[in-house]
Symmetry: C2
Subunit: 242 residues, 2 copies
C-alpha cells in the first residue's frame, strides 16, 4: 500500500532535473566526492554558515566582503588560485572553522544547488549525515527528490549509492515508482555489509581523485554518520536545520 | 591492462547523449520495451527492412508511398489512429512480415536513433539478439556507445539491464571507465541466474504496460537470443548487418 505516502524520486544528473517537479518537495543535494561531505563536516564542526558560490571570482569577492570568512574551492584537485583552502572535509576541524563563514565554490554540487528553483526546501546529503538526514526526511512526511550532482552531468556511482542508502532507510514511508530509485537501491544492496569505499574504488571519481592522493579523503566521505547534522539552504546560506 | 582496447560507454538517457562523442563509434540503440525488440524480431522473421519514423503522420504518408508496406506504432499502449499494427514483436511472425517493409513509429527508441548524427554505424540491441550483437561488437574492435532510449528521457531499468548484459559478454575486450557502465553491470549481476523478467517486474515500464495486458509481450522481450540477427541502420532503413 502506497496510498497517501509522499513520493520519493531520484534524479541521476543535473541534466535530467527538468524532468522532475520539485515544487513543494524537499530536494536533497548529493555530491559525495566532496562538496556535500565538506559542507556537512564544516557545519557539524561549528562553522557559522556556508555560502555556496558558482565561480572562483565570486568566491574571492564575497570572501573579501565578509570579515572572518574562509574562501575555499578546488579546480582539478588543487586549491584554486586566489582561494585559501580546498574541498576536503578534513580541512575543517572545529578548532579551525568554528564560528566562521565558509564561502565555497565547487564544480558540481554548487551548480545543482543553484539550479533548483521552487523546492519547499533544499538540504544537503552525504554519508557523513546519512541517518540523521533520513530521519529528517521521515519526520517531514513530504515528497522528496534525491538529486545527484554527478560529474559534469555524467552519472556517477557514489552519489547514486548514497541515494540508495537513503532509500534503504526511508522506503517504508514513501511511494517509490521510479527506476532510478530502484537502480540506486540495487547498487546499495550490492555494496552494503562491507566498507562502502571498497565498492566505490572501482568508480571514475575514485580513480580521478586517487591521482591527486585523495584516497584518505574519499574513505572519510564514505563513512556513515560521522557528522550528524542536516545542513539546509536558508536564503543564500547553508546552516544547520532546526 | 586496457591499453589499446577500444572504449565502451553507456548513455542512460537521450538527454545525456550530448555528453558522449559518438564520432567513429558503433552506437547501439536499446529500447527493450519494445521498439528494438520488435525491430529485431521482424527482421529475423524476414522483413525486408524497417523504416523508423518520428510521427504517426509521417508513418501514414510513408506507408502510402511504399507498396506492400506495413505501418505500425502505438500511443499509450494501443495501435495509433491511422496505423495498421502495434509495437509488439509477437505481431510480426514470418508468415505475416516476410518480404515486407515495416514503417514503425515509437516514442523513445526512434527518437534516440534519429538524435545520433555522426556515428560510424548504428545498430539495434535487444535481449532477443544479445549474443549475436555482443559477438558483432567484439568482431568490430571499435569504440562503442550503448544508448538507452529510456522513457521520455527518464532512466529506465530494462534498457540499463540490457547494457549490463552486453558488458558482461564483452568487457574483456573493451576499456570501460564509465560509472554508467559499472552501474549497468551491477544491475545485471543482481538479475542474472534467474529469469530476467522477474527482475524487471518491479520497474516503471512493466507496471505501465501491465495495465494494458502486455505481460506476455514483456516476458518475450526479456528472453535472450530468440532472434539472432544484428539490425543496422543503412541510410533511412534498418536491415540485417553483413
Amino acid at each position: 500500500m502506497t496510498e497517501g505516502k509522499p513520493v520519493l524520486e531520484v534524479c541521476l544528473s543535473p541534466a535530467l532535473l527538468h524532468l522532475y517537479d520539485t515544487k513543494g518537495a524537499i530536494v536533497v543535494i548529493i555530491d559525495i566526492f566532496r562538496a556535500t561531505s565538506t559542507m556537512t563536516a564544516a557545519l557539524h564542526n561549528g562553522a557559522k554558515c556556508i555560502i555556496p558560490v558558482a565561480s572562483v571570482q565570486e568566491c574571492i569577492e564575497l570572501g573579501n566582503s565578509i570579515p572572518g570568512s574562509i574562501t575555499a574551492g578546488e579546480r582539478d584537485g588543487k586549491v584554486a588560485d586566489g582561494l585559501q583552502h580546498g574541498n576536503s572535509p578534513l580541512e575543517y576541524p572545529a578548532e579551525f572553522i568554528s564560528g566562521k563563514t565558509l564561502v565555497l565554490t565547487t564544480t558540481n554540487g554548487t551548480r545543482l544547488l543553484h539550479m533548483v528553483q521552487d523546492a519547499h526546501e533544499i538540504v544537503i546529503g552525504s554519508f557523513l549525515n546519512l541517518s540523521v538526514l533520513s530521519d529528517y526526511l521521515l519526520a517531514q512526511g513530504r515528497k522528496v527528490l534525491l538529486g545527484c550532482a554527478s560529474w559534469k552531468d555524467k552519472f556517477n556511482l557514489e552519489d547514486t549509492l548514497f541515494a540508495g542508502a537513503v532509500i534503504d532507510k526511508v522506503q517504508h514511508a514513501f511511494d517509490i515508482n521510479c527506476d532510478a530509485s530502484r537502480a540506486a537501491k540495487h547498487l546499495y544492496d550490492a555494496a552494503k555489509g562491507k566498507e562502502l569505499i571498497e565498492f566505490l574504488k572501482n568508480s571514475s571519481h575514485y580513480r580521478r581523485l586517487s591521482a591527486f592522493g585523495l584516497e584518505h579523503d574519499m574513505t572519510y566521505c564514505a563513512t556513515p554518520d560521522l557528522h550528524p547534522v542536516v545542513p539546509r539552504l536558508q536564503g543564500q546560506e547553508i546552516v544547520i536545520a532546526g
